[in-house]
């Protein structure tokens, strides 16, 4: 694709200056139309599944099986039905998801910020090794250590609950430490030094001076952690039982439980997606800066 869009921009062939100019203008307009047409076509393709989801969600259940595009009648009540079906099991999943996401995020912040601060600011032996180990644990798939972890949590009788996913967040999350550290190294040490000259301890200097400056990075890791928990399927699948299912796990069973009622499945799916979309549009900058921070600093 890059090839074709770029090819339309080839330097013009030789000719008289005037002709060259008009030809170049013609090319430029053509180029503008081509890139924008491709971009708009792609944008439509990216949005289409969401639109189809929505249109299906408001259909009657018979209509979903006809391959019809536009709903003949609009059944807005499907959203309510999806929420309240099976004694409101979706609301139950939602509460579980919120418990997981909120606690995991809060615990992660409390435990990861000091570690990232230490890695960014203190000089000590083994600092580099510690950072390399943080990156290694961040990179390695969670499945590598899952078996013994499950055995440990089973011994504490915590399998069947969300605590095996929440409690480890009290002990630092590698990805968040990495991302915060990448941001904190960009803050000049003089600020914290000045605070310490004014009689602050290191911890107070971190809390009062450095962290307020790192607010965008903190917001980014908090959002990432929240959505990680919101989206997590593997973790809850391993540890939870139907009583403690999150939306992700519950939703994966929704289709089977409601066989051909695709409209309800799509309504439930949309309800799961909606909070994510709302937060994204409210906090777009934070997200995009955060993602950029993970890749470009290298």
């Amino acid at each position: 694709m890059t090839g074709t869009t770029l090819a339309t921009r080839r330097a013009p062939a030789l000719g008289s200056p005037a002709r060259r100019r008009t030809r170049r203008r013609g090319r430029r307009i053509l180029y503008w139309v081509a890139t924008h047409a491709i971009a708009i076509a792609l944008a439509i393709m990216f949005l289409a599944p969401l639109v189809f989801m929505f249109l299906t969600a408001v259909m009657s259940s018979n209509e979903t099986l006809t391959g019809e595009l536009w709903p003949r009648s609009w059944h807005w009540s499907n959203f309510g039905t999806a929420l309240t079906t099976d004694h409101g099991v979706m609301l139950h999943w939602l509460l579980n998801t919120l418990l997981y996401a909120v606690l995991a995020t809060a615990f992660m912040l409390v435990s990861s910020i000091p570690v990232a601060y230490a890695l960014a600011r203190f000089r000590f032996r083994g600092r580099k090794l510690a950072f390399v180990l943080v990156i290694t644990t961040m990179m390695l798939p969670p499945q590598v250590t899952i078996v013994p972890m499950y055995i440990v949590w089973a011994r504490f009788h915590l399998t069947g609950t969300l605590w095996p996913l929440i409690l480890p967040m009290l002990f630092g999350d590698a990805f968040s430490i990495f991302l915060l550290r990448q941001f904190l190294v960009t803050i000049p040490a003089e600020y914290a030094d000045a605070a310490r000259v004014d009689g602050c301890g290191e911890f107070a200097a971190m809390l009062r001076v450095v962290l307020p400056m790192a607010r965008p990075a903190i917001a980014a890791v908090a959002l990432f952690q929240f959505f990680y928990a919101w989206n997590d399927y593997f973790g809850p699948l391993i540890y939870t039982k139907p009583d403690s299912w999150t939306l992700a796990v519950g939703l994966s069973t929704f289709r089977a439980a409601h066989h051909v009622e695709w409209n309800l499945t799509m309504a439930a799916t949309l309800l799961t997606v909606l909070p994510v979309m709302v937060v994204f549009f409210l906090a777009q900058r934070v997200f995009i800066q955060g993602v950029t921070l993970t890749g470009v600093k290298g």
Binding site: R10, L42, P114, Y117, I135, I151, F234, A256, G298
Partner: protein, 316 residues
């Protein structure tokens, strides 16, 4: 920094001890976490790999689990599928992400809206995205195949056809291209414009500029995208599992399917065999062998990343 170092050295060892304690205090959550949730379980994985263990009975079996790996048809099927995804899906994702990012750099007005639209599907929870995607491209329920047929394109029955399941999953992954695209877009915008101007004066055409300026400048970021893409694909689990369940439609419980890797083992990925062995069949010893295979391969790619990036631009 140097001033801080000498200042610390001067008042002798008491200050140094206090510094060491302070470092320990700040690092303590992670030190504990690393030991409890990484070092210990990794060692335990090695230990359990020599046993038959079903959560109740621990029987030493020597190398039996390792030997079984070589004749386990499911594991090999899964390795082949995962390899397919690494070889096809990862490069396609990086190329498509780069193409979208390139496209966005050329669009002056409305670029921000387009960027959000391209990024958005990445944020959709994978379970929701997969369920929706399977529905939309299913010829019986979704409109995609019908619309394509109207303009004369015959599309396959993606997630019910063993030959088309992995291409279907690849399409799903291309829909969620947002993360790769944003990282590459930032890299493209970081290329100094002066380089392009100089090249334009020298009469370089667009392809030459891309080849000689853009590619070399963004190659570290491209490399990062490829290696992280490979590591993500090694743990590819959710989409494959949910797609199989949703298109099959007869799973009665989370994570159980009547046939893992539906259709015909085509969507069986390596983490799925680990999950089936460890948490459906409770062959935890053998699951540990699979975990170790995953560890060795993922570690290999992590080391590439670490070498390439010198611990991410550290200053010492």
């Amino acid at each position: 920094m140097a001033a801080a170092l000498t200042a610390r050295r001067a008042p002798a060892s008491r200050a140094r001890r206090r510094h060491r304690l302070r470092v320990l205090a700040f690092l303590s959550p992670w030190l504990l976490g690393f030991t409890l949730f990484f070092a210990y379980p990794l060692a335990a994985t090695v230990y359990f790999s020599f046993f038959r263990y079903n959560l109740f009975q621990l029987t030493p079996v020597g190398l039996t689990n390792y030997r079984f790996l070589f004749k386990d048809p499911y594991a090999w099927r899964a390795i082949k599928n995962t390899l397919w995804l690494v070889v096809v899906m990862v490069p396609l994702r990086v190329l498509f992400g780069l193409a979208l990012a390139q496209l966005l750099t050329r669009i002056k007005r409305g670029g921000n809206i387009l960027r959000s639209i391209f990024y958005l599907p990445f944020l959709i929870p994978p379970v929701a995205a997969t369920v929706a995607f399977v529905f939309v491209v299913n010829p019986g329920t979704g409109p995609v195949n019908g619309i394509a047929a109207k303009i004369g394109i015959h599309l396959p029955d993606w997630f019910n056809d063993p030959d088309w399941t992995k291409p279907g999953l690849t399409l799903l992954a291309l829909w969620g291209i947002g993360d790769v695209m944003i990282i590459l877009l930032a890299a493209l915008l970081d290329v100094p414009t002066s380089l392009y101007e100089a090249a334009a004066i020298d009469g370089a055409n667009a392809w030459q500029r891309f080849r000689r300026i853009t590619l070399p400048t963004i190659s570290p970021v491209l490399m990062f995208s490829v290696v992280t893409g490979v590591i993500q694909t090694l743990q590819y689990f959710t989409q494959a599992m949910v797609a199989a369940n949703a298109s099959q439609g007869n799973a009665d419980q989370a994570g159980t399917t009547t046939a893992p890797g539906y259709p015909d083992g085509a969507s069986l990925t390596f983490p799925q065999t680990l999950y089936n062995e460890g948490f459906q069949q409770f062959n935890m010893g053998y699951a540990c062998v699979l975990a170790l295979v995953l560890f060795v391969v993922a570690m290999f790619f992590t080391l590439i990343l670490l070498r390439r990036f010198h611990a991410f631009g550290d200053d010492d």
